[in-house]
């Protein structure tokens, strides 16, 4: 992946979240505080502005800029989780323009590890991990090149997000609802699916 592709990923994600902002807020309204779309959108618009102003030249610099911007502008769980995950990923990315497939997988692995460590959630707890963890394991296990695997993952991401409807929330404020959280799709899983769809388009080359 090149630095340009990585920046395109955030442009795509910013646009997708902006487009689905109300839907994400509505999902969050059912089991949280109706701000997930607003939270991510605020952060990502800042990311796009800062990325344009600073034009970071390497994958590491871009990733760090995105992380720090989310950490300082998104005052919800998702901001802290995406921010800390991306800080961890930035340590894996090289301070150069390009990285190979294996490094990208390792960076996403570091992202997921950090979110698991920070949030203490596991798969099945009805969070963004219910999209990221199966996506990561496909990526790590599949022998085909990522130009093939990532678009496949992107095609499944929405299903994984929708499957969170049957789960009971164990982490995040939705946990206070106990069994009442069942029957609603997790907003963070839904936005995570948008991210994978963007990655699929960019790695698949169809942007």
């Amino acid at each position: 992946m090149t630095n340009t592709q990585f920046q395109q990923l955030w442009v795509c994600f910013g646009q997708a979240v902006s487009k689905h902002k109300d839907e994400l807020n509505q999902l969050d309204a059912a089991i949280g505080d109706a701000d997930h779309g607003t939270n991510l959108d605020r952060g990502l618009q800042q990311v796009l502005e800062k990325m344009q102003a600073a034009s970071p030249a390497t994958l590491q610099a871009t990733c760090k800029l995105v992380a720090m911007t989310l950490l300082s502008t998104v005052g919800g769980a998702s901001g802290a989780l995406w921010g800390s995950g991306l800080l961890a990923a930035a340590k894996v990315f090289p301070d150069t323009d390009t990285c190979d497939d294996k490094t990208l997988t390792q960076a996403i692995q570091a992202f997921v590890d950090s979110i698991e460590q920070r949030g203490k959630a596991v798969v099945g707890d009805k969070t963004m991990l219910d999209v990221f963890v199966p996506a990561l394991s496909s990526l790590a296990q599949d022998a085909e090149p990522i130009t093939v695997v990532v678009p496949e993952i992107a095609a499944h991401a929405k299903e994984w997000a929708e499957a969170t409807a049957s789960l009971q929330a164990k982490k995040g404020r939705a946990a206070y609802l106990g069994p009442r959280s069942v029957g609603h799709i997790d907003p963070g899983a839904t936005s995570s699916a948008l991210w994978w769809q963007c990655l699929g388009r960019i790695i698949g080359g169809s942007v």
Partner: protein, 128 residues
């Protein structure tokens, strides 16, 4: 609709908590606060005014949560003073966590007893 009355020795504390709870539960639950403003403390009279404000809004039940045991003592005395036509429950729960849990539960349309359980169970839910 069930209303909530948040009682603290510091009115600022419960006003901030009310803001947060309204955001978390989508402003559908009527919330009032009682507590000291210039000097810290909470009298039975303050709690009685809070109960009356909720009654005026037509609530059909009231949950009271408080910060310290003495807020509960004032609340019990306030209940005697007001003699509310609708049931008033004093809920022993951690103030912030119990208030959020109860309001989120009420906002899903749940019954008052479910909200009381959710608030009480907040003593057993860990944050990490």
């Amino acid at each position: 609709m069930t209303g909530m009355l948040l009682v603290s020795h510091s009115r600022k504390l419960v006003n901030g908590l009310a803001d947060l709870t309204r955001e978390l539960s989508g402003s559908v639950v009527p919330i009032e606060t009682a507590g000291g403003e210039d000097s810290l403390g909470v009298t039975a009279s303050m709690v009685a005014s809070g109960i009356t404000s909720l009654l005026v809004q037509g609530v059909d039940g009231i949950l009271i949560l408080g910060d310290l045991g003495s807020a509960f003592i004032s609340a019990e005395t306030a209940i005697d003073l007001v003699s509310s036509p609708t049931p008033v429950h004093i809920v022993d729960a951690p103030l912030v966590e119990g208030t959020i849990a109860a309001a989120m539960t009420l906002s899903t349309g749940a019954a008052i007893q479910d909200a009381i359980s959710a608030a009480t169970e907040a003593y057993t839910i860990r944050k990490r």
